[in-house]
């Protein structure tokens, strides 16, 4: 459709003989422009202004080892090198290798999260406060991307419900909306993302209050690297990865189901719930299997599990719901 339009675009105008030479130059000029633009896109660092340097992950001591610690989890943790260089963080570029290259200048200090909406005690939490609301716990979760690859990550944080209880949601709070940081100057590739920014996500209140839902401040025993959502992000292990918003700046408790970024982009492909489900395919690809990253080159794809294998903890929340309709 699009190509048809472009193929027929100009040639009625350039065919006359007087413009014949112009056409040649035009073609060469376009090729040159194409080259210049591509070069610029490959090296955005060449033009972005030098600013204060971003945060560097620091070691976190005295992490609590609970039911999701390495002694209790029978999964091989994906190498940090793989996880930290294969990211979907469209504000820093849409190629998997882009965020680790482009996010290193991202300034994440000072940082705070504003918590508002249907709550009795709205307030702003500074990053220092967030790090001290509860003991930081190491939790090894499977993380399944909607693109059919998966990783196993030792996240650090505590249940989101800890923070939620402090602000005391009112009875009319039915959903929680999350908003990620967005600033064009710090995220110069935002225009290529093709999604509406700032990034917004949402959960039903009971999903948000489920103990598995993690307010995450670190991974691999350190604070979060920028490309993985520093300094604080969500991790919802039974949902596709895009539900776990990064670099959170605002949390709103709301009455109605909030808009979510990928659902806005393509509602037939990305539902509000987006629970990991091998039986409900993405319209463009199967969700039955996944490629576990960091394994051997000839590893077979492994079967994807309903709710990413966390059915015991979360399936009851969806009892009686048609998971094909509410995908």
């Amino acid at each position: 459709m699009l190509i048809k339009k472009r193929a027929g675009l100009t040639y009625a105008d350039v065919t006359p003989k007087a413009l014949y030479m112009g056409r040649r130059n035009f073609l060469l000029g376009l090729l040159a422009t194409y080259g210049a633009v591509t070069t610029y896109k490959k090296f955005p660092g060449l033009v972005s202004a030098a600013g204060p340097s971003g945060s560097v992950p620091v070691k976190l001591d005295g992490l609590v080892q609970g039911p999701f610690s390495k002694d209790n989890i029978n999964e091989k943790v994906t190498p940090a090198q793989d996880v930290m260089h294969y990211n979907n963080y469209y504000e820093f570029g849409t190629d998997k290798s882009d965020p680790s290259k482009n996010a290193n200048r991202f300034v994440t200090t000072p940082w705070s999260i504003s918590v508002e909406g249907e709550v009795k005690k709205p307030r702003t939490f500074t990053m220092d406060e967030i790090l001290k609301l509860a003991p930081l716990e190491e939790r090894i979760y499977r993380h399944r991307c909607v693109e059919a690859w998966s990783i196993v990550v030792p996240w650090v944080g505590y249940s989101f419900s800890v923070l939620a209880k402090l602000v005391e949601p009112t009875p009319s709070a039915k959903y929680v909306a999350f908003q990620s940081y967005f600033e064009r100057k710090q995220m110069p590739l935002w225009r290529d993302a093709g999604i509406q920014l700032p990034y917004v996500e949402g959960l039903r209140l009971d999903e948000a209050m489920n103990p598995l839902t993690l307010l995450c401040t670190g991974m691999y025993g350190e604070t979060l690297p920028n490309q993985d959502g520093a300094p604080v992000r969500m991790v919802i292990p039974w949902k596709y990865g895009f539900k776990s918003a990064k670099s959170i700046v605002k949390i709103r408790f709301v009455k109605d189901q909030p808009p979510t970024t990928w659902n806005i982009e393509s509602s037939s492909e990305y539902g509000f719930y987006s629970n990991v489900n091998p039986n409900v395919d993405h319209p463009r690809w199967s969700q039955a299997k996944e490629h576990r990253l960091g394994g051997g080159f000839f590893d077979r794809p492994i079967p994807t599990l309903l709710f990413n294998g966390y059915g015991d903890q979360v399936a009851s929340m969806y009892a009686g719901m048609d998971l094909r309709k509410y995908f």
């Binding site: 699009l2 190509i3 472009r6 003989k17 014949y20 073609l27 093709g194 463009r284 080159f297």
Partner: protein, 218 residues
């Protein structure tokens, strides 16, 4: 000078070696852990990208030889086209062998159900007869006119290739759109050239009676 370079056998050998460079780099990366966290995806995307690039190069030959008045460039067209086919074969076999692990039922379901796979598969299939009939013998057997007509299928493959890419990406359509522009320009040039030729020499009979093109000029 340029003509000497273009007609030299050595140049052909050098271009041939250059065309193998993307594969060599890929293999080199494979041995040094340079394929990233998702090597299968990396190989699939790289070979897919090079298929489109070789299609661009193949389709650029005719405009370039006319614009630059270098008819000898035609010597490279078949080779570039066959390299496009070579990289699409790598692309396709990566999907079969590494991505899907020879799960034929699932693959056929994908071809039927997933429109980006359907068009990609169609584009690949259309290249097969072109690769087979790329020899001088086949040009003779088919006759230059029919051979040329058949090989216009490559325009369709280029379009299907871009659609395949466009439907694959989640939201950032920058690169597929770039390819769409390049192919659009290359195809529009042909349309323009065709119209211009007709306008300049409105005598279709002379064209019809033209001798069939040889392997070098087809």
């Amino acid at each position: 000078m340029i003509k000497t370079i273009l007609t030299s056998t050595w140049t052909k050998a050098v271009v041939f070696a250059l065309c193998l460079l993307p594969l060599a780099i890929l293999i080199g990366r494979g041995f040094h852990g340079g394929l990233g966290a998702n090597p299968i995806e990396f190989i699939t995307h790289t070979t897919g990208d090079w298929t489109l690039r070789f299609l661009v190069l193949t389709l650029a030959i005719t405009p370039l030889r006319k614009i630059l008045h270098q008819p000898q460039l035609i010597r490279f067209r078949r080779m570039l086209g066959l390299f496009a086919f070579f990289y699409v074969c790598l692309h396709f076999s990566t999907w079969i062998g590494l991505d899907k692990f020879f799960d034929w039922t699932e693959m056929w379901k994908d071809v039927e159900k997933r429109r980006f796979i359907t068009v990609g598969f169609a584009g690949f299939t259309l290249l097969i007869p072109l690769a087979i009939t790329s020899t001088a013998g086949w040009i003779r057997r088919l006759g230059g006119k029919r051979w040329q007509l058949l090989h216009r299928l490559v325009y369709l493959t280029a379009i299907l290739g871009v659609i395949h890419y466009y439907w694959l990406v989640k939201s950032d359509v920058t690169k597929p759109i770039e390819y769409a522009w390049v192919f659009g320009i290359l195809l529009a040039w042909r349309a323009g050239d065709w119209l211009y030729t007709r306008w300049k020499r409105p005598a279709p009979r002379t064209v019809r009676n033209a001798p069939p093109p040889s392997a070098e000029t087809a």
